[in-house]
Symmetry: C2
Subunit: 415 residues, 2 copies
């Protein structure tokens, strides 16, 4: 496709300029973009109004409308996000390893930008500024494909950033937005292997599946979370209930929320009546097996689909188990390799759980809600990887870089 | 597909046993497999004879036949490969990072096996033993899909290994061979996402392209190499010629061989007549631009395709350039992101080249033939990655692992 080919060529040209930018310059540009975002608030809000009106007329649900809506406060928060990324340490140029071979070759492994990053995302316009900031800070050119519903908002935000880049003497093609919303263009973007080094989908399970199935560009899968908590026979109930309530209800629609609960049968009688009450107070529907239903009369039957579900809602599945081994086997069968927790005071059981559960983040006695770049202290987050290649769990700046080997010799040839 | 589903399930079951094996046990098993390989030489040779006979009848080319053929010496070399991997340091279990958050959460980043690795490869039966050794050493279960031409050889080698595993009290499903050679089975294998964590193709450009296009499992691309050498105006000719001859002719059919040569126009007159003679002695055909042809009369015209070609043959493309910038632009346009070298005594030009060339390995004054796990001192090699995700350049044991975060708390919940 001619259109994408031109975008790709411009991004590829931009990446050579960006890989070499001084850390201070990147910081200055990000601060200038933050200032521009604030000074251009009226312009961004006007574009957002247009999206909002179309969405209202199209009958968009209230929750989605709220995600789409920008306000002065939200634009200030976007600008603050840019400033926060500006203040982070530069990841590019770090010498990760350095060694000399017996033949005198000197080898350095150096952290470098990926090159061109593609990001496909859904309706939240704040992702536009956020994704630019993280990619720019790591010396990458970025091509964005935002959701159709936020089209005018994304366009306005991208324009403000591109104007800032030009004013700062930097190629505006550091960020490009795909403005053609045809489905074939999006599919072709997933195959733009010649120019795009990595593709990161940010959105729901359907978007991620579509990208994985269609892309020939390497993908980092993010953000599907069927997260479990297993309450061991040796759990401290005083810890278990607050952790479960927090993991399930502190924020409902996020990937690190708890969706499924396993309970050792020996602790069921002591735990479940009180837990049932606490969940009921938070209006959480319980879908469970027979044993749980005996102890929590409000609970309804769980199906096989329930154990596999990422509800993102006020629903939780529950099941009793006879051992930590059975709990781990259930988790490894149904989880999405995101985050799972055990509540126990038994070190042996904790150790077994930590070792055997196949997830990016495995917890003992803490809420799964901590799987987050900021909570981990990375200062930023591009997403939570649920695959094992390249990055696992919260991805910060370093995860947007790769490395190359620089080899210096003095005429060495191979025998 | 029922057949692949069963293979996948068995591999998934095996991975939990393997992830937890003690380093000494893995070493012992690999040594036992090496001994079994030697003691079962007659059985393996008999199977190989069958493949060889079919190949001869099918009219296989001499070079391919040689790659397929096993001998006592080659089986001993395979066994020696297993022993070498056995002797390497264990990569699994390393605590890569460890930190405590202000809320008291203790976070460890620990190196763990990938889980299940799929390897699709072409006719060389030694890859069977080699791939098993690297995957087993790193605690991974492996599913192999070898070339149809080496079917009986691969089956015999896999059986010998599986018998050894059983004798050592380890699940034989640590290694499984796909014995159904239907094309649809291979394609379905590339989509066995539920069980396979990473897919590594080992073979020619066609195989790699097919895997990239069809796979929904994350892929590590390996081994396509259109490697360049640029002879700068400030090159030392005494270094340049031996490096070029070595990189082009020391071994012809390998991915780190030099395929294309760029020459600064100011050094062309001093370099090319002598270089042309040296290449002629090695029977290398030269395809070049006008300026080169003036100085090497034997050279023929190069086309656009020549500059993009990975010949793997006694052919080299050549082009003169006006500057290091022009050379870098040409390389970044035509290379496969594998290995490229500059020959120069000019530090500034060397620095520019190292920084700007987008390749896994960038050399100054050395042969590109050093891009190799053994030459880098990794002690093993599963392939040379030409992508930027996860691993770049030579991949050793560490590149067959991932990490997980272990988070220990004391009842922490998120505010």
């Amino acid at each position: 496709m001619e259109y994408l080919d031109q975008l790709g060529q411009r991004a590829a040209a931009a990446k050579y300029e960006l890989q070499d930018l001084a850390a201070e310059k990147k910081t200055a540009v990000l601060k200038a973009a933050a200032d521009a975002m604030v000074s251009q608030t009226a312009r961004i809000l006007k574009a957002n109004d247009k999206d909002y009106e179309i969405a209202v007329q199209g009958g968009m649900a209230a929750g989605m409308l709220d995600r789409l809506k920008l306000t002065e406060v939200r634009i200030e928060a976007m600008a603050e996000g840019l400033r926060q990324v500006a203040a982070l340490e530069d990841a590019v140029g770090e010498v990760m390893e350095s060694f000399e071979r017996p033949n005198g070759l000197h080898i350095e492994k150096v952290r470098v930008p990926m090159g061109v990053i593609g990001i496909i995302y859904e309706a939240r316009p704040n992702v536009t500024a956020d994704a630019f900031a993280l990619c720019f800070k790591t010396g990458n050119a970025v091509i964005l494909k935002g959701g159709r519903d936020a089209f005018y908002s994304n366009q306005a935000i991208t324009e403000v950033i591109r104007e800032t880049l030009s004013e700062e003497g930097i190629t505006a093609d550091a960020v490009q937005l795909i403005t053609n919303n045809d489905r074939e263009v999006t599919t072709a973007f997933m195959k733009l292997k010649q120019y795009v080094d990595v593709l990161i989908p940010r959105g729901g399970a359907g978007l991620i599946r579509a990208v994985v199935e269609n892309s020939t560009v390497p993908v980092i899968e993010t953000g599907t979370g069927n997260c479990h908590i297993y309450v061991d026979e040796d759990a401290d109930i005083e810890k278990a209930i607050p952790i479960i309530i927090n993991a399930k209800t502190q924020r409902i629609g996020v990937c690190n929320a708890c969706e499924s609960l396993l309970i050792h049968e020996k602790i069921a009688k002591r735990l479940l009546p009180e837990l049932g009450k606490a969940l009921k107070e938070k209006h959480v529907e319980i879908r469970a097996d027979e044993r749980v239903k005996e102890l929590i009369p409000d609970a309804v039957d769980a199906t096989e689909e329930d154990y596999a579900a990422e509800y993102l809602d006020y629903i939780i599945s529950m099941k009793t188990t006879a051992s930590v081994e059975e709990a781990v086997a259930h988790i490894n069968r149904y989880n999405t390799k995101h985050s799972d927790a055990i509540i126990t005071e038994n070190k042996e059981h904790a150790g077994y759980f930590l070792k055997m559960v196949d997830s990016a983040c495995v917890y003992v006695n803490a809420s799964t809600r901590f799987t987050d770049g900021f909570e981990f202290g990375f200062g930023a987050e591009i997403g939570i990887s649920t695959q094992k290649l390249h990055a696992r769990g919260p991805m910060g700046l370093k995860e947007l870089t790769t490395y190359k080997y620089l080899i210096r010799g003095n005429g060495q040839i191979r025998e």
